[in-house]
Amino acid sequence: MPMIEELVGRMRNGELLPSEHLEEKISVLEERDHELNAFITKTLELAREQAKRVDRLVRDGKGGKFYGLVWGIKDNFALKGVPMTCASKMLENYVPPYTATAVERIIDNNGVILGKLNMDEFACGSSGETSYFGPTRNAHDPERVAGGSSSGAGAAVAAGMVDLALASDTGGSIRNPASFNGVVGLKPSYGMVSRYGLADLAMSLDVPGPIAPDAYGVALAMDVLQGYDPRDRTTVRRRLEFVATIDAFNPDGIKIGFSDVLLAGADGPVRRAVIHTLKFFEKKGAEVVDVDLPDVRKVLPVYYLVVYPEFASAMQKYDGILYGHRAGGSTLQELVSRSRGEGFGKEVKRRIILGTYVSLAENAGKWYTLALKARKALQEMFNRAFQQVDVILSPTVPNLPFPIGERIDDPVKMYMSDVLTVPANLLGVPAVTFPGGWEGRLPIGVQLMGPRYSDPLLVSAVRFFEKEGRPWCA
């Protein structure tokens, strides 16, 4: 697979026409997607129109940032006139009347949109298996899960069906599938990328971000995606430099935080890949510092107690009245309850019911407030760690991609996949995953998490590893 920097170079200087490049991607899509199920909606016609337009623009020296790079969009972002299902029966026939800011920025910079990508239903899942349209399969081993919730984004990038993918991360939804498919994914600092046009999961945690085959792709995407948006007032008025600083990483003077507690419960190969990567950076001059993270494994209950009520609240709008699945009913209340009962899948219902339960007046102070206080305590614990170190290195997911069906009936076991990714969301800080090893053909993701707005540093560290290091191999 040509690396993104080289590809952009070829398209910029006219060696490769965007429309020719698109046809290559379409042929990969046609060959692989019947097996992987990474796409929910394919927009071949739209893509071909866009690519022809970009052919002309590139010729005229107006290639934008993307010069016709081919994008897939997770199906929880709106693109006007194209179905947006959130992988749910509830929105199976929904066509949004507007476009998400992040998608608009991609199109404005001459990204070509090849389709909407499969995901866990309303982003509720860590394996890609809760989609109403069937599970996405892992690009390296179709018997295994692609990770989630941005399952299609991880698999489509890894299989080369798209160059880049737009995804979203609430507790690991970018990093988990990027890790399971052996590609690079960045969960940006909260507020760096607009959520306008993204279906909420938990609005205090959600952040859009890219999945790419390499660090350069992530950097290029972030230079476009980031920025203040008056339509999302949680976006920050700040600009970070990604491509301009991508080769600036100097391991000398970098302090990498690590703790054995981050390896608890990890599969053997995952441990070995993480230690290998840590040692690589140490050998190159970085200092490894033992950080004290005693409560890190308790983050999951805090995370889910924040997610459930926010999710239950965000899901109230799906009622079968104005749009989406409508069941019959002789009264309004019956219509709403039946539409939701029929339209939502198991995990979505579980989360809404738990969110409603936790928010009951008689439960005031028993769950949600405790979780907020614990969230604050965790934030302080990590802030103390970030006073000592520049980044914290860990596995992205403690386990290798597991066989399809293995965990789907055990929600608590499924939740354990997220233990190392949710802290970044609870804190609002950036975290990147990159392939740090391979167990046979199964990729192993390594995660770097940094303090808020250290996003470019993290991406440059991945670039450094890509150039100077080698993933661990069994």
Partner: protein, 93 residues
């Protein structure tokens, strides 16, 4: 804990979700297993502050003014049931 079938149905009613008998049977033990798992939250030393500000922004308000939407037909086209340009709903009793 969600102790009984009736309690689960009460919460589901508040959540405006109908559940089949099979779903109730499957959900009850799952929800309690999850709530058990969430109990850990009580063992985390917490601080007496619930303020977690995810961004550096101050609260921002926008002018409370009406702005026309450019394509109302695109919204109307999504109505599950309509009569002309009106949305059809059953009585709200």
């Amino acid at each position: 804990m969600v102790d009984s079938r009736d309690e689960l149905l009460h919460v589901a009613k508040l959540a405006r979700i109908t559940l089949s008998d099979d779903e109730v049977q499957e959900l009850l033990p799952q929800l309690n297993k999850i709530l058990d798992f969430l109990e850990v939250v009580r063992s985390i030393p917490s601080v007496d502050d619930t303020a977690v500000f995810a961004t550096e922004n101050e609260n921002e308000y926008r002018e409370d003014t009406v702005r026309p939407f450019d394509d109302p037909d695109a919204i109307l086209s999504q109505f599950p049931e309509k009569k002309g340009r009106y949305l059809k709903v059953p009585p709200n009793l």
